[in-house]
Amino acid sequence: MNQDPRQFPKAAREALNDPLLRPALTRMKMNFAARRAHGVHAYGDFETLRVAGRDIRDYSVTHLDELLETLEASVNARGGKVHWAATAEDARQAVLAILRETDAKTVTKGKSMVTEEIQLNPFLEANGIVPVETDLGEYIVQLRHEPPSHIIAPAFHLTKEQVADTFRLEHTKLDPNRSLVERNTLVQEARAVLRAKFEAADAGITGANFLAAAEGAAIIVTNEGNGDLTRLLPRTHIVVTGIEKVVRDMNDVSILLRLLPRSATGQAISTYVSIMAGPVGERAEQRGFHIVLVDNGRSKLIGTEAQDVLRCIRCSACINHCPIYGAIGGHAYGAVYMGPLGAALNPGVMGVAETGHHANASTFCGRCAEVCPVMIPLPKIMRHWRAVEHAQGLAPKSLTFGLALWAFAAKRPRLYRLGASLLARALKLFGRDGAVHALPLMQGWFAVRDFPAPQGKTFQEQWQARR
């Protein structure tokens, strides 16, 4: 499984040739786009809502320090604790310290892309603590030792037969001959297996979709209810999330809640929205509530041309509508965040040298920006990373050379007209039956396409001739 963003071209090729992935992608594309379109239409004036979402998130990103301080004061007032993790390592250590302090051995996890980002699970395992993913899709990929291939539908790339095989392999205490044909049977089996884990867990770790500074609350949305069982049953609840998730208050959250599920799955609201402010009050013994705020490169984006990507509310609409993601799926990116979100974010936090392909593998069709609930100008940010790459001399040499040649001519009209005339004649000459099939140049074009042959004279030549 590709975990290296530099291997993107090779990984993309493998994905294109994966026969099981294609029907999964077709189904995913159709479902998400249709559902979102339906949900947006049902809302009425969705555009005004997007503007409101953008403004709320812009306020957050440009007042981040104040809001985080307010959040901490509010959380403290409610008996919780905030931990500030500048790096991924700091975040891992903060979580470990809390778990050690509370003598936690098994931990259930609600879905959290940030914990993927900081690679929390292998770290906990190396330290003798067992993390169990409880979101069904995350649970399945965890059993298969695969990374998630989508930020909200982690196992979309799998067939139910593949899931059944995995369950048969891993759920060793159950009758090996049991029938696992129906999807619902698989779901009920996971429910039963994971219920035992929920009940045995010493601590629960979730992410947060939003943090409300005024109330000191973390908010999660799920359709399964696993996040709630993760919080409510164990002694300790740890929220691990990015610093940029904070907004002023629950009224901001309420507006964003109208945008998030609709943009993701077309739902007016997710089945479960949980607003969690302070320790759980259900059992007699002392309970803990911790929020680990993770920076891990986010603050670096503030004040740059990529700042707007910090508005992101992780709905996945951009991913769902991207033609590139729709052709290759999530694993090819070799990173936690894929599609247009990854293309805008990864070069900033992981570096352009590492993730240049993400920003380059885009047609700039603009569909992502069109569906983004908080109006992030995603192609503009990708272009910015391409400019950074060029300035650092990291763009592929052949392309840079070809472009430089083109630009040289394009700035010199007479040279350009001459060059174009020659090129038009050469292309016509190489043509067979109206199309050029191969050339020693532009391998990328001719690998998969013919090139329609020109008439032989440029427009400018012909226009001049007619005067």
């Binding site: 901490e72 500030w84 069904l136 709630d228 479960y272 402010a277 503030i302 004040g303």
Partner: protein, 200 residues
């Protein structure tokens, strides 16, 4: 420098133009009678919504719901709940937390018409985990509980001293689309949700 100082310093060093305070946003008004809209929206989410006259009708409704699902005539009620006073002649009442095959009944703190959503403010008599443990969740919505939007719930809670430790919004039974993008019910939370809306 502590993590806190490092992060705050990094943000402050880079902050440029500050965006203005967002203008007020008003969501589209919720059409029609709030109770009807609430019931209609929740019923569209694989939920058994019944409109009853009053609390007097609740015991029979609960018995009927359990029978209709081939479940034993047993229901769990939180010990400190106002519901603990309810007399259920045909149903055994248990007070411990429900297990994954059990049924439970609680009062909803609010019912939000905009999205067909139950809101539960955790507290004495309303333990949050009870909305996730059982396989069948029954919620009773009293007339005063129905509001138009989440903002109304927040206003009400603020007036009463602020958020509870957990405020759960529930808009249907538990579901997942994680296998082949096809929806299945009963992933972790209740597989079945029944809501009794009281007219008085």
């Amino acid at each position: 420098m502590s993590g806190r100082e490092t992060i705050l310093a990094a943000i402050r060093a880079r902050k440029l133009k500050q965006a203005p305070l967002p203008g007020p946003y008003k969501a589209p008004a919720v059409a029609g009678d709030l109770a009807q809209t609430f019931a209609k929206k929740l019923a569209a989410q694989q939920t058994d919504v019944r409109v009853l006259g009053s609390m007097a009708d609740v015991p029979d409704a609960i018995a009927d719901i359990l029978r209709g699902r081939n479940m034993a005539a047993t229901i769990h009620i939180p010990p400190d709940s106002e519901l603990a006073l309810l007399e259920l002649p045909n149903v055994e009442v248990r007070r411990e937390p429900p297990g994954q095959f059990d049924a439970a009944v609680t009062f909803a703190s609010f019912a939000i018409a905009e999205t067909g959503t139950l809101a539960y403010a955790a507290g004495n008599g309303n333990p949050a985990s009870w909305h996730f443990r059982p396989v069948l969740e029954v919620a009773i919505v009293r007339p005063g509980a129905i509001v138009a939007e989440l903002e109304d719930v927040l206003t009400d809670l603020r007036a009463k001293g602020g958020l509870p430790s957990t405020l759960n919004l529930v808009s249907g039974p538990s579901r997942t689309g994680d296998i082949e993008q096809t929806m299945e019910l009963g992933a972790h939370g209740p597989k079945s949700l029944a809501v009794l809306v009281l007219k008085s």
